[in-house]
């Protein structure tokens, strides 16, 4: 359902491929549900962002739409952004690490090429091919990135075979010599008898939030709506790394309990423990202690609280965590 309020901010989200599901899920987790009438509609409202409109776009088109300004911000794989964004263009990365859709763009050759293990070999091979009157053909969906990468390795003699189909079979079928493709696990490459090149990792990618510099700097309403989205995303990403632990601990005074808790530096929490008296039936001196700690120290915290007599321990996942100011938003303002 589209809100009736005035349209303020247009957010492009992937409509296809492997990024559609993770992105809608991610946004929902951030409290930014996309309210799509039905799956055939290509627009949706965004909860809690008044005037926010999500547009479903092909993943390959999103960077271009942001650059040209037909949408204000967008979610896209960093690989796609690097491939399509233009020098001195208006597109900027607002949050580079949304922590999903992680993958690597790698160079791979036939396993049987035992003489080839690193980029120096590829460079050498390119020259050798040329001396034999052939060009080294590189099949990829990322011609710009791959071209820049090869040039930076002093490889100048090659042909890019632009392919959007299954690249892994290109060497075996003979329409390319090497491939540069996305690998998230490497299984597909191995199944097709390909091996990666040692220093041939071209790019590490994950989902990122991008925006049009000009549109955001020129319109306070758009900037404000963007700030709200950035804050939600930041709060959610931050919270995922922490647990909030509450325990009842016996002691003589709040001060004494706080001191005992602070003996473990990891238990200082983000600012320090919160200690409050518990008014129970048995009249004993109990204090409720609440700390926010890194996820990884779950067990350690539990053990320590028990060792100082703690009981009634609950661990919850905070939904959002915020510090005094939003770092990504501050960075965005600087970039504008």
């Amino acid at each position: 359902m589209l809100k009736s309020s005035k349209e303020v901010l247009r957010l492009a989200v992937p409509s296809d491929g492997e990024m559609y599901d993770p992105t809608t899920r991610f946004l929902a987790e951030c409290g930014l549900n996309l309210e799509r009438g039905n799956s055939r509609q290509y627009m949706a409202g965004i909860t809690s962002i008044d005037g926010g409109l999500a547009l479903f776009q092909r993943v390959a088109d999103i960077t271009g739409k942001v650059e040209e300004g037909s949408v204000d911000i967008g979610i896209v794989g960093f690989d796609r952004f690097e491939e399509s964004h233009v020098e001195d263009g208006e597109g900027i990365v607002i949050i580079p690490d949304l922590e999903y859709s992680k993958c690597e763009l790698v160079m791979a050759v036939q396993e049987s090429w035992i003489d080839v293990s690193n980029m120096a070999d590829i460079a050498d091979l390119a020259v050798e091919f040329r001396e034999r009157g052939r060009d080294l053909r590189v099949a990829t969906k990322y011609p710009s990135i791959v071209r820049r990468f090869l040039f930076s390795h002093s490889i100048n003699y090659f042909n890019i075979v632009h392919s959007s189909g299954t690249l892994e079979v290109a060497p075996a079928m003979g329409f390319a010599d090497i491939i540069a493709d996305i690998a998230s696990t490497g299984v597909t490459l191995r199944e097709n008898h390909l091996k990666t090149i040692d220093d041939g990792t071209i790019l590490r990618s994950q989902a990122c939030l991008i925006g049009n510099r000009k549109l955001l700097s020129g319109n306070p309403e758009k900037l404000e709506a963007t700030r709200r989205i950035v804050e939600r995303v930041e709060g959610y990403l931050e919270a995922r790394g922490f647990f909030q632990v509450t325990a009842n601990i016996p002691g003589e005074s709040a001060q004494q309990v706080a001191t005992a808790v602070r003996e473990r530096s990891m238990l200082s929490g983000l600012e320090g423990p919160t200690v409050a008296q518990v008014y129970g039936d048995d009249g004993g001196d109990w204090y409720a202690v609440t700390v926010v700690v890194p996820r990884s120290s779950h067990q350690e915290v539990l053990d320590y609280f028990r060792s100082i007599g703690g009981t009634g321990i609950s661990v919850i996942q905070p939904r959002y965590i915020y510090t005094g100011e939003s770092k990504p938003y501050k960075r965005l303002l600087q970039a504008l």
Binding site: W113, V127, Y157, D177
Partner: protein, 473 residues
């Protein structure tokens, strides 16, 4: 709607600098003509292959390359020489002994660093094809310098280097072509004693010219045995297993790689030697004496003698510029084989300098011509020449000395008579602007003052002309 902006690295020339650009260009073209260099013109667009053939690939990353609507891979020219040689080969006339050609036009290069460079600039250059030897070198170097002097440029200096010498020295190390090209392209870094060598060692290791720890640890015997088993298994495999390479090719390169690893010492030696030679520069006689003592190989000594002959030949042109010999001078484009030179001017910072050139005996063969054809050429970077001229604070540089006249009609029925009067004055050799829309005499006089026009003539319907003096207003 948004106004489309000028592209990064591109420049507009307003009437002021464009006038200097056109006139300086014309003067340089005329200057070359007095030495018998004939003007030729070649296309802006060529097949990408042409520029890749012998540029060592260095230009590849800086070319504007695209697939044209017909599906051909084409590039906008980043330089003229390759096109000139292609044209020469296409229309070669067996009767001729040598060719003196000149050209003028824009070239584009995608310069990543825009601090000191543009992406489009105009080159005027000359090529002397079919003649070798110090006298040919001297003529071309002299042209490059004297042309600038003929425009009134002062304060420039000439730097001469020798890729012949560098090539002869590198030749003794038995390096691969790729390793040689790498070293050559890094010579400019070697001249910076503080950071150069370390940086190059690091790059060379990354690119596999120098042994990295990983390869040292590998036991060649074990590796060879493993490889043998693997390769034997592969024998007779089809394309789906080895791609477009045969098992033989893979085996051959694998074995070559094993020996190459042991050769990485000579790469280090070559780098050491190059560091010393690249830092030799100074007055010609001094540099040549010093280098002669350093070099032991005959091939190297011959190259030094050759440069000394070029310097002697050059003295006959009586150049009025300081000359330096700098063996660390290698020009960016890898097709140069012998003498290379540049002309610098203190008003221009950074590279490229205002003139660059050199001998490129290998290019003609690389493009399919005869082995023995030699050639040398140079180009002026016209935009930089103009920058120097404009910086020499001559406001009226190349200004047309002829009188400027504004002809206006007194009334709308007098336009015909005014046009006739204007044509008559032009035939007398004056520069005449016609006022096309009706304006008062006062407005016309004001316009004339703004434009620097000396004379305003008002014409009546019957052709009567009345002159008003602009100065008096």
């Amino acid at each position: 709607m948004q106004t489309p902006q000028r592209l990064l690295g591109m420049k507009d020339h307003g009437p002021g600098s464009a006038r200097v650009m056109v006139q300086a260009g014309q003067n340089l073209t005329n200057f070359l003509s007095t030495y018998g260099y004939l003007s030729v013109d070649v296309p802006v667009l060529e097949s990408t292959e042409l520029f890749l053939r012998k540029s060592g690939g260095e230009l590849a990353s800086r070319m504007y390359t695209f697939v044209d609507p017909g599906g051909h891979q084409v590039s906008i020219r980043p330089e003229f020489t390759s096109s000139i040689i292609r044209a020469y080969l296409e229309q070669i006339d067996t009767g001729s002994l040598s060719y003196r050609w000149q050209y003028r036009g824009p070239v584009v290069r995608y310069e990543p660093d825009l601090l000191n460079s543009q992406r489009q600039y105009t080159q005027i250059g000359a090529e002397l094809i079919g003649v070798a030897g110090p006298w040919a070198d001297a003529e071309v170097i002299a042209l490059a310098s004297k042309g600038l002097s003929s425009l009134g440029v002062k304060g420039h200096s000439l730097v001469i280097g020798s890729l012949g010498l560098i090539g002869a020295l590198l030749g003794s190390f038995g390096l691969s072509e790729r390793a040689k090209l790498f070293l050559l392209s890094n010579v400019p870094l070697l001249k910076d004693a503080n950071f150069g060598k370390e940086d190059i060692y690091q790059r060379a290791t990354q690119l596999g010219f120098l042994t990295s720890g990983y390869q040292e640890d590998m036991d060649p015997y074990v590796a060879n045995q493993d490889a043998k088993v693997l390769l034997d298994k592969l024998d007779g495999s089809d394309i789906s297993v080895t791609g477009n390479r045969s098992v033989g090719e893979i085996r051959e390169r694998y074995l070559r790689k094993q020996t190459q690893i042991q050769d990485s010492n000579s790469f280090g030696d070559a780098l050491e030697m190059l560091t010393i030679v690249a830092n030799i520069q100074g007055a010609p006689s001094e540099v040549l004496n010093k280098t002669r003592k350093l070099i032991s190989s005959n091939a190297g000594k011959e190259e030094i003698d050759y440069i000394s002959q070029v310097i002697d030949a050059l003295s006959n042109y009586e150049l009025d510029v300081p000359i330096t010999v700098d063996f660390g001078l290698v020009r960016g484009i890898a097709y140069y084989t012998g003498v290379v030179f540049e002309i610098n001017h203190p008003a221009i910072f950074g590279t490229p300098s205002i003139v660059g050139g050199g001998r490129y005996d290998g290019l003609i063969q690389a493009l399919g011509g005869e082995d023995s054809t030699s050639a040398i050429g140079f180009a002026w970077a016209l935009d930089r020449v103009v920058e120097v001229l404009l910086g020499s604070n001559e406001q009226n540089l190349f200004k047309d000395a002829r009188d400027l006249v504004l002809v206006r009609a007194k009334e709308s029925s007098a336009y015909g008579a005014a046009v006739k009067e204007a044509e008559r004055l032009r035939a007398e050799g004056k520069i005449v602007e016609s006022q096309i829309s009706f304006t008062s005499l006062d407005e016309s006089l004001k316009y004339a003052v703004d434009r620097g026009i000396q004379q305003v003539i008002s014409v009546g319907a019957k052709g009567e002309a009345e002159e008003s003096n602009v100065e008096k207003q």
